[in-house]
Symmetry: C2
Subunit: 311 residues, 2 copies
Amino acid sequence: VQDLVARVLKGEVRAAARACRLVDDRGPGFRALLKEIYPNTRAAFWIGITGSPGAGKSTLVAAMVKHFRAAGKRVAVVAIDPSSPFSGGAILGDRVRMQQHFEDPEVFIRSLATRGALGGLSRSAVDVARVLSAWGAEVVLLETVGVGQDEFDVVFAAETSVVVLTPGMGDSVQAMKAGILECADVFALNKADLAGADRTAADLEQALALGGALNAWVPAIVRCVATQNQGIDALLAQIEQHRIWQLSSAVGRQARSERVKRNLLTHLRHEVVERALLQHAEFLSVLASAVEAGILDPYNASERLLATLLE
Amino acid sequence: VQDLVARVLKGEVRAAARACRLVDDRGPGFRALLKEIYPNTRAAFWIGITGSPGAGKSTLVAAMVKHFRAAGKRVAVVAIDPSSPFSGGAILGDRVRMQQHFEDPEVFIRSLATRGALGGLSRSAVDVARVLSAWGAEVVLLETVGVGQDEFDVVFAAETSVVVLTPGMGDSVQAMKAGILECADVFALNKADLAGADRTAADLEQALALGGALNAWVPAIVRCVATQNQGIDALLAQIEQHRIWQLSSAVGRQARSERVKRNLLTHLRHEVVERALLQHAEFLSVLASAVEAGILDPYNASERLLATLLE
């Protein structure tokens, strides 16, 4: 592990790939590796990109990568969107469009498969993002889909989060209700050349005005056409502005602290489940059987399990 | 709490409402109440209903309630779908359609607001479902939206889960990839009178055939038109068949055990976060500040927090 850490920190692509695999598989020494690299991960800027399938997240990510590369920055993409071409799940056209980045040695693309209902995906994504930060990525783009708990976790792990919407998305207002407003630092209104862009922007502005009193930061709505590389400059400018706000203003720093606290709780949650599954699998089964048989209630079972985790 | 428990068990609607509020607010004595009522919750049958916004889940739930009421069963609905008229979030027409059930004393409808990124919603939903089971609900319908972690948690808490799809849903295949296949015991293809129903059913069948080798239970696809009360009988028959399979076959019992184990882990996860927030908020802040300042890494911070939780 020591050797692997050293090679990751030197910026070796193969070592980074091996470290990503180790972390994703929770292989031997992954904890030591993560602790070891952590001090070298803090310079990277993490950007979350989320939104419904079909919103054009991946095309937007590709366009953003292009801009960062033009500025000479080393970039990592961590995709946990099953519909993303980064994750190998999309149509051929999209994959071809990505190809340029796949072949660039200064761009590291890592996709993660969904893990089913036990979660843990967001934890893997965050750990992989840390590895790639230690490898020397100056920008890490975390691409996720939807607004579930795992997505929230990833999006909050990022320092600035972009929510991608498209004109006439019937579910945009629904999605906002479901909590997407809470995690957007910038809105990218993609496919802004389509009909309905004004309407969607107006709906969004109205929703933001309602919630505005609660948040010190009011997310901008940036119109983009990712396929034509339009609006990407403006989007990156807004992202940069949010980053500066977080670092330089008192409310921004406060918001950042809340985010760190939240991430710590997320980490704790995953840690507990991982320990229960890896170290106390048998006891867990015994308890579950007792609950199933009606001998034990889940409240007491959970307390016993928790006590055992720390013995 | 003792008195409240007694009144809930007697089937008093007001007591049930008070107990739901207590549990949802994590008010004084909520743990004692939950432990107390637990033995009386096991007779209720929990059905999960999930799917994208606009799939018609609420109309389907209303139709299912009608059928259960016609069979003389006491029913509870726990809705955590922000777009659901049960949760007060939908258009007027839907609310009017629900009205009949709101006024029926043998139907208890409880909606839960989303809680933002820290989760805990699924835990509240499960606890509220337990209260309503103790109150005497023979069937509890858990309505959720999407396929995020919280939804997974609720859906797996249910004994049988229905995933609602509609014809021509562009994201149906995406949703399946995202893990929805894993949690469906029955598919309701709602609005089956619309064009594209055959295509969606065929897509789904194909996806199921691919995953079929892994699962002993192959979910049926039931076509419904919930607004016209069509297909509800067939849907309920499939739900009942799944229930029987779980109780009577070896693989079914195995699947049920896995579900119980999973729920126990979910419970544990929430428990830990709740304890950290309620009992160690200050220490959590101190640790978060240390992480933010780069003095401590999140891995060690999480370990310290975990140790403190059990002191």
